[in-house]
């Protein structure tokens, strides 16, 4: 059984663009950026402008934290110190159900799956869960498989 992620080996430093995101995560809310002018959504919030219309005043959208696994990797060789005892683990790219936009684009987030990795597959629905860390300022969203692949929405490639 792999060890838990050792977040003490990672000093997460929120900044001007991201402090509100981390504050929301502490309250178990998952935010993505949303443009107040055209509605476009994006993640992560490190990009301070709307790529669609150029608006420079991004706001936030609180997603329900449900989505579909777009693709994933099983990390075998750890690179980040906090994960040395955790291999193998799955990093998934998740397409958020409530962030689909006209024209086929969708907001994607990344996250580490919980220990239900053997079940992971492209197209499976999943949902966010929140993991407390030793640092009270940092709550980490993780993801778990939440159903079967029937009737999942497909990204327009």
């Amino acid at each position: 059984m792999p060890a838990p992620i050792d977040y003490s080996k990672l000093r997460i430093v929120p900044d001007f663009d991201t402090a509100e995101w981390w504050a929301a995560a502490r309250e178990h809310k998952y935010l993505v950026r949303q443009c107040p002018d055209c509605g476009h959504k994006w993640f992560p919030p490190i990009f301070p402008a709307c790529a669609r219309c150029g608006s420079l005043k991004p706001g936030w959208f609180q997603t329900a934290g449900k989505g579909v696994i777009h693709s994933y990797v099983v990390v075998v060789q750890p690179i980040v110190g906090a994960f040395i005892g955790t291999v193998p683990y799955v990093v998934a790219i998740i397409e958020l159900d409530d962030c689909r936009e006209a024209g086929g684009s969708v907001t994607r987030v990344a996250g580490v799956m919980l220990d239900d990795e053997p079940e992971v597959a492209i197209g499976l629905p999943c949902e966010v869960v929140y993991e407390e860390t030793a640092d009270p300022r940092i709550v980490m969203p993780r993801w778990r498989v939440s159903g079967s692949a029937a009737n999942v929405w497909r990204f327009n490639e």
């Binding site: 992620i5 977040y7 003490s8 080996k9 990672l10 000093r11 997460i12 430093v13 929120p14 900044d15 991201t18 981390w22 994006w42 993640f43 992560p44 490190i46 990009f47 790529a51 777009h70 693709s71 994933y72 990797v73 099983v74 990390v75 075998v76 060789q77 750890p78 690179i79 980040v80 110190g81 906090a82 994960f83 040395i84 955790t86 193998p88 683990y89 990093v91 790219i93 684009s105 994607r108 987030v109 990344a110 996250g111 580490v112 492209i122 980490m140 490639e157």
Partner: protein, 397 residues
């Protein structure tokens, strides 16, 4: 067609030692490569009046000391004994490895310099540098806030995610990557500069290799080395008076499409983004994929070669896996690919090895790998959904 077509040429190639156990700092390996390129062209260092490089470290967070981790224009200007009054230089961080060659060509065409030296020096950082693995609590700020806490600090993991999506989307299997890796190794076995020159690889070797980021294994990753490759670029007229047959620069393209995926780029838009480069490349040269005698396609991670075959139009979208099996990409095949062994087997020279081999092929200098009479060869670097630059070199102007 590009109005500069055939007006410049690559006239010299220089390699340093390519090694995983360097006995000197990267800056001195770069000087070795630069001197070798100058000598290969039949020039003297003091004739070099243009300098250009793509200096970037191989990954975010790697070291940045000049002459140790990177080799800047300033380092070569100060340590090579080039012209007392250099007329032009550029340090490019957009596009990729072909970009400083492209800039040099355009500078030469307008008369900004006479002989440009272009190099790419790459250092193999210590395995844990930049990640802080096992060393207290490294800082995760900026982009890293949304990468490091997911244990996904390496681009190999990003490529694994994209490749899994490719397999899902197009029904491909690891057989396609095995075919590419084995092709590159066979070619490297014919390339005396290749890191794996004396090491053959079997299909079993490939499938028994350990996973790094499943579904990518060790042999899907380029081999990190210390080394430098340098080129001499000059005007076609000057090149004809030098020692070697010139490899004329027929056209170039750079990846300029806007990608939808932000930090977590996956397979998205590999056709559109790669196509933005390829369309410019083909139209600049007035040539198409069918006219290439070989293709040197970037393989920092193995799937990129497959993506380029499709994005550049050598086959249709989703047909890359079929294209690379059955001997078509081998020397003697319909479209020889990475005839020098690629970054997978020659070593991580970030696309400079690809350019050097394209030059060798159209100038009859490709040793046991020579494609008889090769007249046009492309070299494309980068991963199409992310970035890239490419050139076509030709036997005749």
């Amino acid at each position: 067609m590009w109005q500069g077509r055939g007006k410049t040429a690559i006239a010299g190639i220089g390699y340093s030692e390519i090694t995983r156990k360097p006995e000197k700092p990267l800056g001195l390996l770069a000087i070795d490569a630069c001197r070798a390129a100058i000598a290969d062209a039949g020039l003297q260092a003091r004739q070099i009046d243009g300098l250009a490089t793509y200096p970037e470290s191989p990954f975010a967070g790697a070291g940045n000391r000049d002459g140790e981790d990177v080799v800047s224009v300033s380092f070569v200007l100060n340590h090579l004994g080039v012209a007392a009054d250099v007329n032009w230089y550029a340090q490019i961080e957009t596009g990729m490895i072909a970009s400083p060659v492209i800039e040099a060509a355009n500078a030469l065409i307008v008369g900004a310099c006479d002989y440009a030296l272009v190099w790419r020096a790459l250092h193999r950082p210590a395995p844990t540098s930049g990640s802080g693995a096992g060393k207290g609590a490294p800082r995760a700020g900026g982009d890293a806030q949304f990468i490091a806490p997911y244990g996904a600090a390496s681009i190999v993991q990003t490529h694994a995610i994209a490749w899994r999506r490719y397999m899902h989307r197009h029904g491909a299997t690891r057989e396609a990557l095995a075919a590419l890796a084995l092709n590159s190794r066979r070619n490297a076995n014919l390339n005396p500069r290749a890191f794996f020159h004396s090491t053959p690889m079997s299909r079993d070797d490939y499938f028994n290799a350990r996973m790094i980021a499943e579904p990518l294994c060790l042999y899907d990753c380029d081999v990190p080395v210390d080394g430098c490759v340098a080129l001499i670029v000059t005007t076609a007229d000057r090149a004809r008076d030098l020692r070697n047959r010139p490899a004329y620069l027929a056209g170039y393209g750079q990846n300029t499409a806007r990608r939808r995926a932000l930090l977590y780029y996956t397979l998205d838009d590999y056709m559109a983004c790669g196509g933005s480069l390829a369309q410019k490349l083909w139209s600049a040269a007035g040539l198409g994929p069918q006219e290439m005698d070989a293709a040197q396609l970037y393989d920092g991670f193995n799937p990129s070669t497959l993506y380029w075959l499709e994005a550049a139009g050598f086959c249709r979208e989703g047909e890359g896996a079929d294209f690379v099996t059955g001997g078509r990409i081998a020397l003697g095949g319909e479209l020889p690919v990475n005839t020098f062994g690629g970054s997978l087997s020659e070593g991580r020279m970030h696309g400079m090895g690809h350019i050097a081999e394209a030059v060798r092929q159209v100038t009859d200098r490709a040793e046991k790998r020579q494609i008889p009479g090769a007249s046009a060869v492309c070299a494309i670097d980068g991963s199409p959904m992310l970035r890239g630059s490419g050139i076509i070199v030709t036997r005749d102007p």
